[in-house]
Symmetry: C2
Subunit: 275 residues, 2 copies
Amino acid sequence: MGIWFTEKQTENFGITAKVKQTYVSEKTDFQQLDMVETEEFGNMLLLDGMVMTTEKDEFVYHEMIAHVPLHTHPNPKDVLVVGGGDGGVIREILKHPEVKKATLVDIDGKVIEYSKQYLPSIAGSLDDPRVEVKVADGFMHIAESENEYDVIMVDSTEPVGPAVNLFSKGFYEGISKALKKDGILVAQTDNPWFHQEIIQNAYRDVSETFPITRLYTANIPTYPSGLWTFTIGSKKHDPLKVKANRFHDIKTKYYTNEIHFAAFALPKFVSDLVK
Amino acid sequence: MGIWFTEKQTENFGITAKVKQTYVSEKTDFQQLDMVETEEFGNMLLLDGMVMTTEKDEFVYHEMIAHVPLHTHPNPKDVLVVGGGDGGVIREILKHPEVKKATLVDIDGKVIEYSKQYLPSIAGSLDDPRVEVKVADGFMHIAESENEYDVIMVDSTEPVGPAVNLFSKGFYEGISKALKKDGILVAQTDNPWFHQEIIQNAYRDVSETFPITRLYTANIPTYPSGLWTFTIGSKKHDPLKVKANRFHDIKTKYYTNEIHFAAFALPKFVSDLVK
Protein backbone atom coordinates (compact mmCIF):
# COMPACT_ATOMS: atom_id res chain seq x y z
CA MET A 1 0.00 0.00 0.00
CA GLY A 2 2.81 2.47 0.72
CA ILE A 3 2.43 5.56 2.91
CA TRP A 4 -1.01 7.09 3.38
CA PHE A 5 -1.90 10.32 5.13
CA THR A 6 -5.19 10.31 7.06
CA GLU A 7 -7.03 13.36 8.38
CA LYS A 8 -9.73 12.70 10.92
CA GLN A 9 -12.17 15.40 9.85
CA THR A 10 -14.39 14.43 12.76
CA GLU A 11 -13.87 11.96 15.59
CA ASN A 12 -15.40 9.25 13.42
CA PHE A 13 -14.77 10.19 9.79
CA GLY A 14 -11.78 11.07 7.68
CA ILE A 15 -10.06 11.21 4.33
CA THR A 16 -6.94 9.33 3.35
CA ALA A 17 -4.50 9.99 0.54
CA LYS A 18 -1.47 8.18 -0.79
CA VAL A 19 1.76 10.06 -0.13
CA LYS A 20 4.63 10.01 -2.63
CA GLN A 21 7.04 11.93 -0.45
CA THR A 22 7.22 14.20 2.58
CA TYR A 23 9.06 17.48 2.05
CA VAL A 24 8.56 19.09 5.45
CA SER A 25 7.32 17.93 8.82
CA GLU A 26 8.06 20.62 11.35
CA LYS A 27 6.70 22.13 14.52
CA THR A 28 6.75 25.87 13.91
CA ASP A 29 6.25 28.45 16.67
CA PHE A 30 2.51 28.21 16.07
CA GLN A 31 1.51 24.85 14.65
CA GLN A 32 2.53 21.53 13.14
CA LEU A 33 3.37 22.11 9.47
CA ASP A 34 3.57 19.27 6.95
CA MET A 35 4.18 19.59 3.25
CA VAL A 36 3.70 16.36 1.32
CA GLU A 37 3.39 15.26 -2.26
CA THR A 38 0.28 13.15 -2.82
CA GLU A 39 -0.59 11.02 -5.83
CA GLU A 40 -4.13 12.35 -6.19
CA PHE A 41 -3.90 16.02 -5.27
CA GLY A 42 -0.28 16.98 -5.97
CA ASN A 43 1.56 18.90 -3.28
CA MET A 44 -0.47 19.42 -0.13
CA LEU A 45 -0.04 21.74 2.85
CA LEU A 46 -1.23 20.50 6.23
CA LEU A 47 -1.45 22.57 9.41
CA ASP A 48 -2.05 20.70 12.65
CA GLY A 49 -2.89 17.66 10.54
CA MET A 50 -5.64 19.40 8.56
CA VAL A 51 -5.50 19.89 4.79
CA MET A 52 -5.09 23.60 4.06
CA THR A 53 -4.56 23.50 0.33
CA THR A 54 -3.58 21.16 -2.48
CA GLU A 55 -2.36 21.84 -6.00
CA LYS A 56 -5.33 20.03 -7.53
CA ASP A 57 -8.29 21.68 -5.81
CA GLU A 58 -6.89 24.94 -4.36
CA PHE A 59 -8.48 27.04 -7.09
CA VAL A 60 -11.99 26.58 -5.71
CA TYR A 61 -11.32 28.07 -2.30
CA HIS A 62 -9.06 30.84 -3.56
CA GLU A 63 -11.33 31.94 -6.39
CA MET A 64 -14.48 31.82 -4.30
CA ILE A 65 -13.17 33.74 -1.28
CA ALA A 66 -11.66 36.44 -3.53
CA HIS A 67 -13.91 37.09 -6.52
CA VAL A 68 -17.27 37.21 -4.77
CA PRO A 69 -16.43 40.22 -2.53
CA LEU A 70 -14.15 41.87 -5.11
CA HIS A 71 -16.94 41.92 -7.69
CA THR A 72 -19.40 43.03 -5.03
CA HIS A 73 -17.31 46.09 -4.17
CA PRO A 74 -17.44 48.67 -7.00
CA ASN A 75 -13.82 49.76 -6.64
CA PRO A 76 -11.68 47.60 -4.33
CA LYS A 77 -8.33 49.41 -4.17
CA ASP A 78 -6.99 48.26 -0.79
CA VAL A 79 -7.41 44.63 0.17
CA LEU A 80 -6.24 42.81 3.29
CA VAL A 81 -5.87 39.06 3.71
CA VAL A 82 -5.64 37.73 7.27
CA GLY A 83 -3.97 34.32 7.21
CA GLY A 84 -3.62 32.85 3.73
CA GLY A 85 0.15 32.49 3.89
CA ASP A 86 0.07 30.05 0.97
CA GLY A 87 -0.59 33.05 -1.27
CA GLY A 88 -3.51 31.63 -3.25
CA VAL A 89 -5.95 34.37 -2.28
CA ILE A 90 -3.38 37.03 -3.18
CA ARG A 91 -2.97 35.46 -6.62
CA GLU A 92 -6.71 35.79 -7.25
CA ILE A 93 -6.92 39.34 -5.82
CA LEU A 94 -4.27 40.52 -8.28
CA LYS A 95 -6.51 39.53 -11.20
CA HIS A 96 -8.62 42.60 -10.35
CA PRO A 97 -7.28 45.72 -12.07
CA GLU A 98 -8.74 48.11 -9.45
CA VAL A 99 -6.56 46.64 -6.71
CA LYS A 100 -3.70 49.01 -5.90
CA LYS A 101 -2.42 47.18 -2.85
CA ALA A 102 -2.95 43.75 -1.35
CA THR A 103 -1.64 43.21 2.19
CA LEU A 104 -1.13 39.73 3.61
CA VAL A 105 -0.79 39.26 7.35
CA ASP A 106 0.01 35.71 8.42
CA ILE A 107 1.19 34.85 11.90
CA ASP A 108 3.43 32.02 10.71
CA GLY A 109 6.31 32.94 8.40
CA LYS A 110 7.07 29.27 7.86
CA VAL A 111 3.78 28.83 5.98
CA ILE A 112 4.83 31.57 3.56
CA GLU A 113 8.38 30.26 3.22
CA TYR A 114 7.45 26.64 2.50
CA SER A 115 4.55 27.61 0.24
CA LYS A 116 6.94 29.64 -1.94
CA GLN A 117 9.22 26.63 -2.09
CA TYR A 118 6.74 23.80 -2.62
CA LEU A 119 3.58 25.47 -3.93
CA PRO A 120 4.96 27.95 -6.46
CA SER A 121 1.81 27.91 -8.61
CA ILE A 122 -0.12 29.10 -5.55
CA ALA A 123 2.39 31.33 -3.77
CA GLY A 124 4.08 32.81 -6.84
CA SER A 125 2.23 36.13 -6.63
CA LEU A 126 3.51 36.98 -3.14
CA ASP A 127 6.49 38.76 -4.71
CA ASP A 128 4.30 41.00 -6.88
CA PRO A 129 5.03 44.73 -6.35
CA ARG A 130 1.40 45.38 -5.39
CA VAL A 131 1.70 42.93 -2.47
CA GLU A 132 2.93 43.62 1.05
CA VAL A 133 3.57 40.56 3.19
CA LYS A 134 3.68 40.95 6.97
CA VAL A 135 4.47 38.16 9.39
CA ALA A 136 2.34 39.27 12.30
CA ASP A 137 -0.72 38.53 14.40
CA GLY A 138 -3.79 39.26 12.28
CA PHE A 139 -5.89 40.09 15.31
CA MET A 140 -3.41 42.77 16.38
CA HIS A 141 -3.06 44.11 12.85
CA ILE A 142 -6.82 44.55 12.66
CA ALA A 143 -6.92 46.21 16.07
CA GLU A 144 -4.42 48.79 14.87
CA SER A 145 -6.15 49.54 11.53
CA GLU A 146 -8.86 52.11 10.95
CA ASN A 147 -10.76 53.11 7.81
CA GLU A 148 -8.06 51.54 5.71
CA TYR A 149 -9.37 48.68 3.57
CA ASP A 150 -12.07 48.17 0.96
CA VAL A 151 -12.18 44.40 1.40
CA ILE A 152 -10.83 42.21 4.21
CA MET A 153 -10.60 38.45 3.67
CA VAL A 154 -10.17 36.09 6.62
CA ASP A 155 -8.41 33.02 5.25
CA SER A 156 -7.85 31.30 8.56
CA THR A 157 -7.43 27.79 9.88
CA GLU A 158 -10.14 26.26 12.05
CA PRO A 159 -11.10 28.04 15.27
CA VAL A 160 -8.58 26.04 17.27
CA GLY A 161 -4.90 26.84 17.79
CA PRO A 162 -3.58 30.16 16.47
CA ALA A 163 -6.84 31.14 14.72
CA VAL A 164 -9.18 30.98 17.71
CA ASN A 165 -9.37 34.78 18.03
CA LEU A 166 -10.30 35.08 14.36
CA PHE A 167 -13.76 33.69 15.05
CA SER A 168 -14.76 36.16 17.78
CA LYS A 169 -17.25 39.00 17.76
CA GLY A 170 -14.50 41.39 18.81
CA PHE A 171 -12.56 40.45 15.70
CA TYR A 172 -15.48 41.21 13.42
CA GLU A 173 -15.98 44.55 15.17
CA GLY A 174 -12.32 45.30 14.63
CA ILE A 175 -12.67 44.43 10.97
CA SER A 176 -15.63 46.77 10.67
CA LYS A 177 -13.47 49.57 12.08
CA ALA A 178 -10.55 48.65 9.80
CA LEU A 179 -12.80 48.79 6.74
CA LYS A 180 -13.72 51.97 4.91
CA LYS A 181 -17.32 53.13 5.09
CA ASP A 182 -18.50 50.86 2.25
CA GLY A 183 -16.13 48.00 3.04
CA ILE A 184 -16.73 44.27 2.85
CA LEU A 185 -15.61 41.37 5.04
CA VAL A 186 -15.46 37.78 3.86
CA ALA A 187 -14.46 34.89 6.11
CA GLN A 188 -14.24 31.15 5.63
CA THR A 189 -16.74 29.65 8.06
CA ASP A 190 -16.30 25.87 7.83
CA ASN A 191 -18.86 23.28 6.74
CA PRO A 192 -22.54 22.71 7.52
CA TRP A 193 -22.40 18.92 7.95
CA PHE A 194 -20.01 18.63 10.89
CA HIS A 195 -19.63 22.20 12.25
CA GLN A 196 -23.01 23.88 12.26
CA GLU A 197 -22.13 25.88 15.36
CA ILE A 198 -19.18 27.62 13.66
CA ILE A 199 -21.47 28.83 10.88
CA GLN A 200 -24.22 29.85 13.25
CA ASN A 201 -21.89 31.75 15.58
CA ALA A 202 -20.07 33.52 12.76
CA TYR A 203 -23.30 34.46 11.01
CA ARG A 204 -24.81 35.81 14.22
CA ASP A 205 -21.69 37.83 15.13
CA VAL A 206 -21.26 39.19 11.59
CA SER A 207 -24.92 40.12 11.28
CA GLU A 208 -24.73 42.00 14.60
CA THR A 209 -21.82 43.99 13.17
CA PHE A 210 -22.71 44.52 9.49
CA PRO A 211 -26.01 45.63 7.90
CA ILE A 212 -25.74 43.03 5.10
CA THR A 213 -24.80 39.43 5.95
CA ARG A 214 -24.77 36.62 3.38
CA LEU A 215 -23.66 33.01 3.41
CA TYR A 216 -22.42 31.21 0.31
CA THR A 217 -20.92 27.81 -0.49
CA ALA A 218 -18.42 26.07 -2.74
CA ASN A 219 -17.40 22.45 -3.32
CA ILE A 220 -13.88 21.65 -2.06
CA PRO A 221 -13.10 17.91 -2.22
CA THR A 222 -10.30 17.90 0.37
CA TYR A 223 -12.24 19.92 2.97
CA PRO A 224 -14.61 18.14 5.37
CA SER A 225 -17.90 17.17 3.70
CA GLY A 226 -16.85 18.73 0.39
CA LEU A 227 -19.15 21.70 1.04
CA TRP A 228 -17.50 24.83 2.37
CA THR A 229 -19.12 28.06 3.52
CA PHE A 230 -18.06 31.68 3.39
CA THR A 231 -19.73 34.50 5.28
CA ILE A 232 -19.87 38.03 3.92
CA GLY A 233 -20.44 41.09 6.08
CA SER A 234 -20.96 44.24 4.07
CA LYS A 235 -21.56 47.85 5.07
CA LYS A 236 -23.27 48.87 1.85
CA HIS A 237 -22.89 46.66 -1.21
CA ASP A 238 -24.99 43.52 -1.60
CA PRO A 239 -23.33 40.56 -3.36
CA LEU A 240 -26.74 39.57 -4.73
CA LYS A 241 -27.17 42.93 -6.49
CA VAL A 242 -23.98 43.03 -8.55
CA LYS A 243 -24.73 44.38 -12.03
CA ALA A 244 -23.81 42.28 -15.06
CA ASN A 245 -21.39 44.93 -16.37
CA ARG A 246 -19.40 44.91 -13.09
CA PHE A 247 -17.91 41.46 -13.69
CA HIS A 248 -14.40 41.25 -15.07
CA ASP A 249 -13.67 38.59 -17.61
CA ILE A 250 -11.02 36.96 -15.44
CA LYS A 251 -9.47 33.56 -15.99
CA THR A 252 -10.90 31.08 -13.49
CA LYS A 253 -11.58 27.36 -13.15
CA TYR A 254 -14.53 27.45 -10.73
CA TYR A 255 -15.97 30.96 -10.36
CA THR A 256 -18.26 32.35 -13.06
CA ASN A 257 -20.80 35.18 -13.01
CA GLU A 258 -23.50 32.53 -12.75
CA ILE A 259 -21.75 30.77 -9.87
CA HIS A 260 -21.41 34.14 -8.11
CA PHE A 261 -25.17 34.21 -7.60
CA ALA A 262 -25.89 30.46 -7.49
CA ALA A 263 -23.45 30.03 -4.59
CA PHE A 264 -25.87 31.98 -2.38
CA ALA A 265 -28.72 29.53 -3.05
CA LEU A 266 -28.37 27.43 0.07
CA PRO A 267 -29.53 23.85 0.63
CA LYS A 268 -32.51 24.01 2.96
CA PHE A 269 -30.68 22.51 5.94
CA VAL A 270 -28.00 25.18 5.54
CA SER A 271 -30.35 28.14 5.26
CA ASP A 272 -32.19 26.76 8.30
CA LEU A 273 -28.96 27.14 10.29
CA VAL A 274 -28.91 30.92 9.88
CA LYS A 275 -32.61 31.74 9.98
CA MET B 1 -9.19 3.00 17.33
CA GLY B 2 -11.76 0.23 16.78
CA ILE B 3 -13.01 -0.87 13.36
CA TRP B 4 -12.87 1.56 10.46
CA PHE B 5 -14.30 1.11 7.00
CA THR B 6 -12.27 2.61 4.15
CA GLU B 7 -13.46 3.18 0.59
CA LYS B 8 -10.77 3.88 -1.96
CA GLN B 9 -12.66 6.36 -4.09
CA THR B 10 -9.72 6.45 -6.46
CA GLU B 11 -6.49 4.44 -6.54
CA ASN B 12 -4.89 7.07 -4.32
CA PHE B 13 -7.66 8.68 -2.26
CA GLY B 14 -10.39 7.50 0.03
CA ILE B 15 -12.75 8.10 2.92
CA THR B 16 -12.74 6.26 6.21
CA ALA B 17 -15.47 5.94 8.80
CA LYS B 18 -15.67 4.36 12.24
CA VAL B 19 -17.92 1.30 12.30
CA LYS B 20 -20.06 0.49 15.34
CA GLN B 21 -21.33 -2.82 14.01
CA THR B 22 -21.71 -4.83 10.85
CA TYR B 23 -25.21 -6.12 10.14
CA VAL B 24 -24.66 -7.81 6.79
CA SER B 25 -21.64 -8.77 4.71
CA GLU B 26 -22.79 -10.98 1.89
CA LYS B 27 -21.97 -11.84 -1.69
CA THR B 28 -25.31 -11.65 -3.51
CA ASP B 29 -25.85 -13.00 -7.02
CA PHE B 30 -24.71 -9.63 -8.37
CA GLN B 31 -22.38 -7.85 -5.96
CA GLN B 32 -20.81 -7.64 -2.53
CA LEU B 33 -23.37 -6.15 -0.14
CA ASP B 34 -22.40 -4.72 3.25
CA MET B 35 -24.69 -3.01 5.71
CA VAL B 36 -22.89 -1.35 8.60
CA GLU B 37 -23.69 1.08 11.36
CA THR B 38 -21.24 3.99 11.43
CA GLU B 39 -20.74 6.56 14.18
CA GLU B 40 -20.83 9.56 11.85
CA PHE B 41 -23.39 8.68 9.19
CA GLY B 42 -25.70 6.17 10.87
CA ASN B 43 -26.52 3.02 8.94
CA MET B 44 -24.70 2.75 5.63
CA LEU B 45 -25.24 0.54 2.58
CA LEU B 46 -22.16 -0.48 0.59
CA LEU B 47 -22.18 -2.27 -2.77
CA ASP B 48 -18.88 -3.65 -4.01
CA GLY B 49 -17.20 -1.61 -1.27
CA MET B 50 -18.68 1.71 -2.42
CA VAL B 51 -20.98 3.83 -0.26
CA MET B 52 -24.46 3.80 -1.80
CA THR B 53 -26.40 5.60 0.88
CA THR B 54 -26.24 6.58 4.53
CA GLU B 55 -28.93 7.67 6.96
CA LYS B 56 -27.25 11.04 7.54
CA ASP B 57 -26.76 12.32 3.99
CA GLU B 58 -29.12 10.22 1.82
CA PHE B 59 -31.64 13.04 1.52
CA VAL B 60 -29.43 15.05 -0.82
CA TYR B 61 -29.16 12.42 -3.53
CA HIS B 62 -32.75 11.26 -3.27
CA GLU B 63 -34.29 14.72 -3.26
CA MET B 64 -32.12 16.01 -6.06
CA ILE B 65 -32.59 13.09 -8.46
CA ALA B 66 -36.37 13.12 -7.91
CA HIS B 67 -37.64 16.68 -7.52
CA VAL B 68 -35.76 18.33 -10.36
CA PRO B 69 -37.33 16.21 -13.15
CA LEU B 70 -40.69 15.84 -11.37
CA HIS B 71 -41.09 19.62 -11.16
CA THR B 72 -39.86 19.98 -14.73
CA HIS B 73 -42.57 17.67 -16.05
CA PRO B 74 -45.99 19.36 -15.86
CA ASN B 75 -47.89 16.20 -14.94
CA PRO B 76 -45.73 13.19 -14.04
CA LYS B 77 -48.20 10.33 -13.57
CA ASP B 78 -46.05 7.29 -14.35
CA VAL B 79 -42.53 7.19 -13.00
CA LEU B 80 -39.90 4.46 -13.32
CA VAL B 81 -36.80 4.04 -11.17
CA VAL B 82 -34.04 1.80 -12.50
CA GLY B 83 -31.88 0.63 -9.62
CA GLY B 84 -32.53 2.48 -6.37
CA GLY B 85 -33.42 -0.64 -4.38
CA ASP B 86 -32.87 1.25 -1.12
CA GLY B 87 -36.17 3.01 -1.81
CA GLY B 88 -35.04 6.59 -1.18
CA VAL B 89 -35.97 7.86 -4.64
CA ILE B 90 -39.40 6.24 -4.35
CA ARG B 91 -39.98 8.01 -1.04
CA GLU B 92 -39.34 11.38 -2.70
CA ILE B 93 -41.39 10.56 -5.82
CA LEU B 94 -44.45 9.85 -3.66
CA LYS B 95 -44.36 13.43 -2.36
CA HIS B 96 -45.71 14.51 -5.76
CA PRO B 97 -49.50 14.33 -5.85
CA GLU B 98 -49.63 13.84 -9.66
CA VAL B 99 -47.81 10.53 -9.43
CA LYS B 100 -50.27 7.65 -9.93
CA LYS B 101 -47.71 4.88 -10.12
CA ALA B 102 -44.03 4.54 -9.30
CA THR B 103 -42.29 1.41 -10.57
CA LEU B 104 -38.95 0.29 -9.14
CA VAL B 105 -36.82 -2.20 -11.05
CA ASP B 106 -33.72 -3.34 -9.22
CA ILE B 107 -31.69 -6.34 -10.33
CA ASP B 108 -30.73 -7.30 -6.78
CA GLY B 109 -33.56 -8.29 -4.44
CA LYS B 110 -31.13 -8.44 -1.54
CA VAL B 111 -30.63 -4.66 -1.72
CA ILE B 112 -34.37 -4.18 -1.29
CA GLU B 113 -34.65 -6.76 1.46
CA TYR B 114 -31.80 -5.45 3.61
CA SER B 115 -32.76 -1.82 3.01
CA LYS B 116 -36.23 -2.51 4.37
CA GLN B 117 -34.66 -4.14 7.40
CA TYR B 118 -31.82 -1.71 8.19
CA LEU B 119 -32.78 1.53 6.45
CA PRO B 120 -36.48 1.84 7.27
CA SER B 121 -36.48 5.64 7.07
CA ILE B 122 -35.28 5.33 3.48
CA ALA B 123 -37.01 2.17 2.27
CA GLY B 124 -40.27 2.58 4.17
CA SER B 125 -42.23 3.81 1.15
CA LEU B 126 -41.61 0.68 -0.93
CA ASP B 127 -44.81 -0.83 0.47
CA ASP B 128 -46.97 2.13 -0.58
CA PRO B 129 -49.94 1.07 -2.77
CA ARG B 130 -48.79 3.39 -5.56
CA VAL B 131 -45.49 1.50 -5.80
CA GLU B 132 -44.70 -1.60 -7.83
CA VAL B 133 -41.40 -3.28 -7.04
CA LYS B 134 -39.86 -5.63 -9.61
CA VAL B 135 -36.68 -7.60 -9.07
CA ALA B 136 -35.41 -7.67 -12.65
CA ASP B 137 -32.77 -6.42 -15.06
CA GLY B 138 -33.39 -2.72 -15.66
CA PHE B 139 -31.86 -2.87 -19.12
CA MET B 140 -34.30 -5.60 -20.17
CA HIS B 141 -37.25 -3.82 -18.55
CA ILE B 142 -36.45 -0.71 -20.57
CA ALA B 143 -36.05 -2.73 -23.77
CA GLU B 144 -39.56 -4.13 -23.28
CA SER B 145 -41.24 -0.77 -22.49
CA GLU B 146 -42.69 1.66 -25.01
CA ASN B 147 -44.42 5.02 -24.54
CA GLU B 148 -45.09 4.15 -20.93
CA TYR B 149 -43.43 6.59 -18.53
CA ASP B 150 -43.43 10.32 -17.94
CA VAL B 151 -40.15 10.29 -16.02
CA ILE B 152 -37.45 7.62 -15.81
CA MET B 153 -34.77 7.89 -13.13
CA VAL B 154 -31.56 5.89 -13.37
CA ASP B 155 -30.35 5.42 -9.81
CA SER B 156 -27.52 3.05 -10.60
CA THR B 157 -24.17 2.07 -9.14
CA GLU B 158 -20.97 3.01 -10.95
CA PRO B 159 -20.50 1.77 -14.52
CA VAL B 160 -18.72 -1.36 -13.35
CA GLY B 161 -20.32 -4.63 -12.31
CA PRO B 162 -24.06 -5.04 -12.79
CA ALA B 163 -24.64 -1.42 -13.90
CA VAL B 164 -22.26 -1.32 -16.85
CA ASN B 165 -25.10 -1.49 -19.42
CA LEU B 166 -26.85 1.41 -17.72
CA PHE B 167 -24.25 3.84 -19.06
CA SER B 168 -24.55 2.92 -22.74
CA LYS B 169 -26.02 4.83 -25.66
CA GLY B 170 -28.33 1.91 -26.38
CA PHE B 171 -29.76 2.23 -22.90
CA TYR B 172 -30.53 5.93 -23.35
CA GLU B 173 -32.17 5.16 -26.69
CA GLY B 174 -34.26 2.49 -24.99
CA ILE B 175 -35.26 4.99 -22.33
CA SER B 176 -36.32 7.45 -25.00
CA LYS B 177 -38.57 4.78 -26.48
CA ALA B 178 -39.94 3.82 -23.06
CA LEU B 179 -40.82 7.46 -22.32
CA LYS B 180 -43.97 9.16 -23.51
CA LYS B 181 -43.63 11.91 -26.08
CA ASP B 182 -42.82 14.62 -23.54
CA GLY B 183 -40.92 12.34 -21.16
CA ILE B 184 -37.83 13.08 -19.11
CA LEU B 185 -34.78 10.99 -18.21
CA VAL B 186 -32.53 11.72 -15.25
CA ALA B 187 -29.42 9.68 -14.46
CA GLN B 188 -26.73 9.95 -11.83
CA THR B 189 -23.50 10.56 -13.73
CA ASP B 190 -20.71 10.49 -11.10
CA ASN B 191 -18.34 13.30 -10.14
CA PRO B 192 -16.27 15.81 -12.13
CA TRP B 193 -13.06 15.58 -10.07
CA PHE B 194 -12.18 11.91 -10.57
CA HIS B 195 -14.48 10.66 -13.35
CA GLN B 196 -14.72 13.31 -16.04
CA GLU B 197 -15.07 10.68 -18.75
CA ILE B 198 -18.27 9.26 -17.26
CA ILE B 199 -19.88 12.71 -17.35
CA GLN B 200 -18.62 13.46 -20.84
CA ASN B 201 -19.76 10.13 -22.29
CA ALA B 202 -23.16 10.27 -20.64
CA TYR B 203 -23.72 13.88 -21.69
CA ARG B 204 -22.72 13.12 -25.27
CA ASP B 205 -24.92 10.02 -25.49
CA VAL B 206 -27.91 11.71 -23.86
CA SER B 207 -27.60 14.81 -26.06
CA GLU B 208 -27.52 12.60 -29.16
CA THR B 209 -30.79 11.05 -28.01
CA PHE B 210 -32.75 13.92 -26.42
CA PRO B 211 -33.35 17.47 -27.72
CA ILE B 212 -32.74 19.03 -24.28
CA THR B 213 -29.74 17.91 -22.20
CA ARG B 214 -28.77 19.52 -18.90
CA LEU B 215 -26.21 18.75 -16.21
CA TYR B 216 -26.71 19.67 -12.56
CA THR B 217 -24.89 19.07 -9.28
CA ALA B 218 -25.42 18.46 -5.59
CA ASN B 219 -23.15 18.12 -2.56
CA ILE B 220 -23.04 14.58 -1.13
CA PRO B 221 -20.37 14.18 1.59
CA THR B 222 -19.99 10.40 1.34
CA TYR B 223 -19.68 10.33 -2.46
CA PRO B 224 -16.28 10.88 -4.11
CA SER B 225 -15.25 14.57 -4.12
CA GLY B 226 -18.50 15.61 -2.42
CA LEU B 227 -19.80 16.97 -5.74
CA TRP B 228 -22.19 14.74 -7.62
CA THR B 229 -23.68 15.22 -11.07
CA PHE B 230 -27.00 14.32 -12.62
CA THR B 231 -27.78 14.43 -16.32
CA ILE B 232 -31.24 15.22 -17.64
CA GLY B 233 -32.44 14.25 -21.10
CA SER B 234 -35.79 15.77 -21.96
CA LYS B 235 -38.00 15.50 -25.04
CA LYS B 236 -39.85 18.76 -24.48
CA HIS B 237 -39.71 20.35 -21.02
CA ASP B 238 -36.70 22.41 -19.96
CA PRO B 239 -35.75 22.23 -16.25
CA LEU B 240 -34.51 25.81 -16.49
CA LYS B 241 -37.94 27.07 -17.59
CA VAL B 242 -40.09 25.73 -14.77
CA LYS B 243 -42.66 28.36 -13.75
CA ALA B 244 -42.78 29.51 -10.13
CA ASN B 245 -46.35 28.24 -9.68
CA ARG B 246 -45.35 24.70 -10.74
CA PHE B 247 -43.39 23.99 -7.57
CA HIS B 248 -45.05 21.99 -4.83
CA ASP B 249 -44.42 23.02 -1.27
CA ILE B 250 -42.91 19.66 -0.37
CA LYS B 251 -40.97 18.87 2.78
CA THR B 252 -37.26 18.64 1.96
CA LYS B 253 -33.90 19.10 3.62
CA TYR B 254 -31.79 20.04 0.58
CA TYR B 255 -33.95 20.84 -2.46
CA THR B 256 -35.65 24.23 -2.72
CA ASN B 257 -37.05 26.13 -5.69
CA GLU B 258 -33.91 28.26 -5.64
CA ILE B 259 -31.64 25.20 -5.52
CA HIS B 260 -33.60 23.76 -8.48
CA PHE B 261 -32.16 26.47 -10.71
CA ALA B 262 -28.86 27.12 -8.91
CA ALA B 263 -27.87 23.44 -9.28
CA PHE B 264 -27.54 24.01 -13.04
CA ALA B 265 -24.97 26.79 -12.56
CA LEU B 266 -21.84 24.74 -13.11
CA PRO B 267 -18.32 25.47 -11.91
CA LYS B 268 -16.30 26.47 -14.96
CA PHE B 269 -14.21 23.29 -15.04
CA VAL B 270 -17.44 21.26 -15.04
CA SER B 271 -19.18 23.21 -17.80
CA ASP B 272 -15.97 22.93 -19.81
CA LEU B 273 -16.35 19.13 -19.69
CA VAL B 274 -19.60 19.19 -21.66
CA LYS B 275 -18.98 22.07 -24.05
